[in-house]
Structure formats: C-alpha cells, structure tokens
C-alpha cells in the first residue's frame, strides 16, 4: 500500500505503520506525536486528495 501510494506520487511520510502493544502507552504517545508532526510538516508542502466544494450559482 505504501509502495503504491509512493508510486502515485504521494509522500510516503503520510502513512505510518507501527507495532504497539496495549502495554506500551508511552510508545503510543511517542508514535502519535511523531506521526502528527511529520504529516503536519508535509501538509504545507503538498495539497493532494483535497476536494473543493462545487460552486453553486
């Protein structure tokens, strides 16, 4: 899936995979922080899969 995203021209940094045990709450927090930071950084760079509302007369 990640390969195909990249193949289509999406930044692979938009999709993250992680193994987190239910006991690893701190790891979950760390990963969530890291993912949001990375995706937010990309947001300014590329705007893709964005739909604009159709203009109604």
């Amino acid at each position: 899936m990640k390969n195909l995203m990249e193949h289509m021209g999406l930044d692979p940094g938009r999709l993250h995979f992680s193994w987190i045990s239910s006991a690893e709450s701190t790891k979950f927090v760390d990963v969530a922080k890291k993912v949001t930071a990375e995706v937010k950084a990309l947001e300014s760079k590329e705007k893709k899969f964005v739909k604009t509302k159709p203009k109604v007369a």
Binding site: M1, G9, F49
Partner: protein, 319 residues
C-alpha cells in the same frame, strides 16, 4: 481460428449432450466489432454461436463467481489463472468446473486499432496464416500486422497456455522467453519519476475517467456483493468525477487486487475511454513478485501473500 471455434463447439456440444455440465461459458460475436461477448450456452442449439478469434479479451472467470451449477468454461491462459484464484478464494469449487483450455495466441488491442483508423470500424477479418488483420469501415480498408497491435498485457504474457484445464482444444503454444520480455519497463518508467511528475502522470491518466465502473465489472476479482464505491453507510468515497474521488476509486480498487491480479487486461479492454488501468495493478504485481516471490493464479496449493504470514515477510516500513 476457425479450427479453435469448431473445436470449442464440438467439445461444448459433447459436454452438454452427455450432461457433464449444465452450461458452457464461451464467447460469441459481439454487437460491435472487436468486442466479443460472453455467452452462456445451456443447450446444444446455443453452441453454434461460439467463436474464438483475437477479440476474446474479456475474462470469463468473472462469470463463475458463486454459481451452483456444473460449468464448462472456455479458458485461455489468464482466464485459467483467474479460475485458480477463484478456487483458492472459495468462489467456485474445482469439481464444479470443466475447463476447456485454449492455448492463447494473444488478443488485439481494440483501443490501439480504433486510434489507427480514420473512421468507425465496421468489421475485422483475421488471416491466421500470415498473421494479419484486415480492418474495414466506411471508406477505408486497412491490413495490419497482428503482432503490432496486441494488447500490452498479451505482448508481455508468460502464460498463454492454461495452467489448469480438463481438456485442451489444441496443441500448447510456445511460451515467450522470460529473458526477452521486459515485464516491468512501463512500471520502472513511472518509478523513476519525481513525486510531482508521478502525481501529474496519474492525474492525466485518470482525467478521462467517467466512473462507469466497467473496469470493476469486467474484473474477475471484483466480486464483492457491494463494492466500496457503492456503499453509502458509510460513504467511503464520493460519487463524483472530482479528481480526488476518481483517484481514490482507482487506487483502492487496484489495491484490492494486490496479489490476486493476473494481468488479464479485462479492465483496460472494457474501459470506454481507454484508460490504462494496468498502470496501477502492474506495479502491485511487481511488488508481490519482489517482496513475496509471488505470481497469482499459478497453483492451487499455495495461499496468496496477503492471506498468509511468514516470519521473513519484509517489514522495514513498520517502525
């Protein structure tokens, strides 16, 4: 191809007469040139409409999904591979099928031929002896070399002979030499592009899409009772031709075929506007081969890669 057609008729008649099958699925001439239609023959009289020529590109495995009868089915290489996928995925039982194997001599690309002609095509004649096709329409008649107008997937095909069959209608054809055919040249071309170029490439590829879902309906893998694009609670993807919706549809449909697609080309053939849907599925095929050493539809004994776990599966993307 008259020998092929005659043999198919002969075998189908015999199967129906002996009551070995309830119906035979094959091709008949289409209502428009270059597009042969699937046909279900339920009695001996129907059988005479069966034909075989270079326009039988639709995948007949599509029509056996969840059927309960005993079915005779005409299958070229890719159809037989999709029958294997169907059996693996429990969409049909092996003993329900009597597979009439057709060693395939490749199908022609209707989009390519239509683009080469100055007007609307009215008929196409095939001369098997010298490998040419004569295409006629109002005010023109042109002779083409069949080898030059093959469907791209047929030109790359490594399994022209059926992989699974009960009887063959002719001697097996010689398979292409894998050394000589570069399977993934087109995929690599896209892989080597910069991300923005890739995005633009697929944008222009899908720009013509009218969301008719012909590719999905022609695809033997797309047998979900309700496709994700048709669901409304929740609605996964918009039903418009907004580029974001179109791309979501093609991206996800392709991904659903990962490790299952046999590159039969039915999606491309059925597309009314000639989109090369295989641009996505071929990439998945390449990934499956590289990551899991997997080619779909070749054996009944192995489970597909997305269905199994192996300790040595690649996992460098998991952090």
């Amino acid at each position: 191809m008259t020998t092929y057609s005659d043999k198919i008729k002969e075998i189908s008649k015999r199967l129906l007469k002996e009551g070995k099958v309830d119906l035979v699925i094959g091709f008949r001439k289409g209502s428009v040139p270059l597009m042969n239609q699937p046909m279900f023959a339920k009695n001996e009289g129907d059988v005479d409409s069966f034909v075989w020529d270079s326009n039988c590109g639709i995948n007949l495995a599509n029509y056996v999904t969840d059927r309960s009868e005993k079915i005779g089915i005409v299958a070229k290489g890719c159809d037989s591979r999709n029958l294997v996928v169907h059996i693996i995925e429990n969409k049909i039982k092996r003993d329900q099928l009597h597979i009439i194997g057709v060693p395939c001599k490749a199908m022609v690309d209707r989009h390519k031929i239509a683009a080469m002609m100055p007007g609307e095509i009215e008929s196409i004649e095939e001369n098997e002896a010298d490998g040419t096709l004569t295409v006629t329409g109002s005010g023109f008649s042109e002779t083409l070399n069949k080898a030059g107008v093959l469907q791209e997937n047929c030109a790359l095909c490594m399994h022209r002979n059926p992989v699974l069959y009960d009887e063959l209608i002719a001697e097996e054809v010689t398979e292409q030499n894998p050394e000589e055919v570069d399977q993934y040249a087109a995929v690599r071309e896209v892989e080597n592009m910069a991300p923005e170029e890739k995005w633009a490439y697929f944008d222009s590829l899908f720009s013509e899409c009218i969301r008719c879902y012909a590719c999905r309906n022609a695809c033997p893998l797309c047998y979900c009772p309700t496709c994700f694009v048709d669901e409304s609670k929740p609605q996964w993807v918009g039903k418009s031709v907004d580029p974001a919706d179109v791309r979501t549809f093609h991206f996800l449909r392709a991904y659903h075929c990962a490790g299952r697609c046999t590159d039969c080309g039915a999606c491309v053939r059925s597309c009314p506007v000639g989109i090369n849907v295989r641009a996505l599925t071929k990439k998945l095929e390449k990934d499956c081969l590289e990551n899991f050493d997997w080619k779909s539809g070749l054996t009944l004994d192995k489970r597909p890669p997305l269905d199994t776990f192996r300790p040595d599966d690649p996992e460098e993307f998991i952090k």
